[in-house]
């Protein structure tokens, strides 16, 4: 007896779980579709909201793409700074070698290579454009050169780099020190700042997008006030009333994110030839990288999340008032 009723109760519970799942799906499906219909009924509003979302999201998106491309340029570089140390007078090979050894002992220095002025002149003579001029000189005008490479970590530490430069320059034999790659260090430091600014910008724009969506949803709520009130009078739960608005926010956010990615691709297509031309003047075969699939997905997900958040905020602050009114 007990086993039978237990089994019957179990079956009933199972059936009601299935029924519950089915009615949950039905409720969400209906809300999702009704939200789409509602958005289609106001094509101008919907299009402008989606475009505003897309433009707003495209802004930081372009920033991240630019940053990613710059990062790949900088990443190609040997991550060490080099200093060209010019040695005055004619110290001779032994003194030059000693000087180079001393420099290697400076903390942060990874290596020092000597370029003798004879060798430099020979190299220059091999170059056609200078080859004809050099015989006119009766003396080698080039100084001896020591190329000092720092450790990789020094590159972005401008203070340490400056300390190394000062120590080298303090040697009486040294006539001049030129930092060839200091700009990369500056660029990397700048990129770190830009990245932080981008994060702040993204957060700010995210809030803006949520507010824009929240505002359109607020207008939609106001427009459908009668329907909300009547639905509530006939037993609609708050969840039932909220759902279509949440989906409306979600759809607009997702569409905005997708459109933002498209805008960025169009921007990339437009600037790509220019970037390639610029890179080739530096002897680089650099090609602009387009948004990756992960970035597309990221834009859509972030757009959707912001749309949903904006709608949720709007719905929770504007639907509360209709709880009891006729």
């Amino acid at each position: 007896m007990n086993a039978v009723t237990g089994a019957r109760r179990g079956a009933r519970r199972k059936r009601s779980a299935v029924a519950l799942a089915r009615s949950w799906l039905r409720a969400h499906g209906a809300a999702a579709v009704s939200a789409l219909r509602q958005l289609r009924r106001q094509p101008v509003n919907t299009t402008s909201t989606v475009t505003v979302i897309a433009l707003a999201l495209a802004l930081p998106f372009v920033g991240y793409i630019a940053l990613g491309n710059l990062g790949s340029i900088v990443g190609d570089w040997d991550r060490a700074a080099t200093l060209s140390v010019f040695v005055g007078g004619d110290p001779g090979p032994d003194a030059l070698a000693r000087l180079a050894d001393d420099m290697q002992l400076i903390p942060g220095v990874g290596g020092a290579d000597i370029v003798r002025k004879d060798a430099a002149l020979a190299e220059l003579a091999a170059d056609e454009s200078f080859g004809n001029v050099l015989p006119l000189l009766d003396e080698n005008p080039l100084p001896d050169l020591i190329v000092v490479r720092t450790d990789a970590a020094v590159l972005t530490d401008s203070q340490e780099l400056e300390a190394i430069r000062a120590r080298i320059a303090s040697r009486p034999e040294v006539s001049a020190v030129v930092m060839d790659t200091a700009w990369i260090g500056r660029l990397v430091a700048l990129m770190a700042i830009v990245e932080r600014v981008l994060v702040l910008l993204t957060v700010g724009i995210g809030v803006g997008v949520a507010v824009v969506v929240g505002n359109t949803i607020r207008l939609n709520i106001a427009m459908r006030e009668d329907e909300i009130v009547i639905s509530k009078l006939f037993g609609a739960t708050n969840g039932y009333v909220r759902r279509p608005f949440l989906y409306a926010g979600l759809w607009q956010g997702l569409a905005g994110g997708l459109l933002a990615a498209m805008f960025v691709v169009v921007a990339c297509i437009l600037v790509k030839p220019g970037v390639s031309a610029l890179a080739s003047t530096y002897g680089s075969a650099f090609e602009l990288a387009f948004p990756s699939p992960a970035q597309w997905l990221g834009a859509v997900v972030i757009g959707g999340a912001l749309g949903l958040a904006g709608a949720a905020l709007s719905v929770s602050s504007h639907l509360r008032h209709q709880d009891r009114l006729p």
Binding site: R22, S23, D226, L233, F234, G235, A236, Y240, R324
Partner: protein, 227 residues
């Protein structure tokens, strides 16, 4: 079914809309609420439907103290009540079918069940042929019948009608009243607020008369027969 115990209602700042009203309506009763405009008829219906809350006193509906019904439970409470308004309160941009379906849709019934019950309700009020129309394309009497179909489609225990014949001529009013009589006969408790004396005189039903928020007369007459 409905119990008012020393209920007073005062809207913000105003004078009392109801003063110390006590009354009881048994399950399955058919009751008219009458009185001049502003007497408090609509307020009583709104208190029963929990659209408003009493300032003082207790209201018990179907054995439940309405003060203890939480915001969460409210929708489920309202699904047991069918409401009919003088101004119909139909959604003008939804078909007759969709308007009548609303209480079933919000309760999450299956499309098959919804279509079956909506057709049955529309058949009952004689508007099955107009299910695809929009409310503005219907006459006032037809719109009121759509409102009645919507109120009964969920098979509520309690029907509350606020001036249901307010804009209708006597023939249409009789027609509407006949519908309420039919629901009453299948066990539904019916409360009709009206100042239409002509309507009341057609039916020997219990009448609770209000004046300035007080119950001034309660016939307690049991309903013998309806037209």
């Amino acid at each position: 079914m409905i119990l008012f115990d020393a209920v007073s209602k005062r809207y913000d700042g105003d004078q009392d809309a109801l003063r110390d009203v006590s009354m009881e309506v048994a399950a399955g009763e058919f009751v008219f609420l009458t009185g001049h405009s502003g007497a408090g008829k609509s307020t009583i219906l709104r208190l029963i439907a929990l659209i408003e809350h009493p300032s003082r006193g207790q209201i018990v509906v179907d054995g439940r103290n309405t003060a203890r019904i939480s915001a969460r439970e409210l929708p489920y409470y309202r699904r047991q009540i069918g409401m009919i308004f003088q101004d119909h309160r139909l959604l003008p941009d939804r078909t007759v079918f969709d308007n009548v379906a609303l209480p079933l849709v919000v309760a999450g019934h299956s499309p098959l069940e919804i279509s079956k019950r909506v057709r049955a309700a529309l058949d009952k009020v004689g508007l099955l042929s107009k299910e695809r129309r929009l409310p503005p394309a219907l006459s006032s009497g037809e719109q009121q019948r759509v409102g009645i179909a919507r109120a009964v489609v969920n098979r509520p225990k309690l029907l509350l009608a606020d001036e249901p014949t307010g804009n209708l001529d006597p023939a249409l009013s009789r027609e509407i009243l006949r519908l309420f009589g039919q629901f009453h006969q299948v066990g539904v408790t019916v409360v009709i607020a009206t100042h239409d004396i002509g309507l009341i005189n057609q039916v020997p039903a219990r009448t609770i008369a209000l004046r300035d928020g007080n119950v001034v007369r309660d016939t307690h007459a049991t309903l013998e027969a309806l037209p």
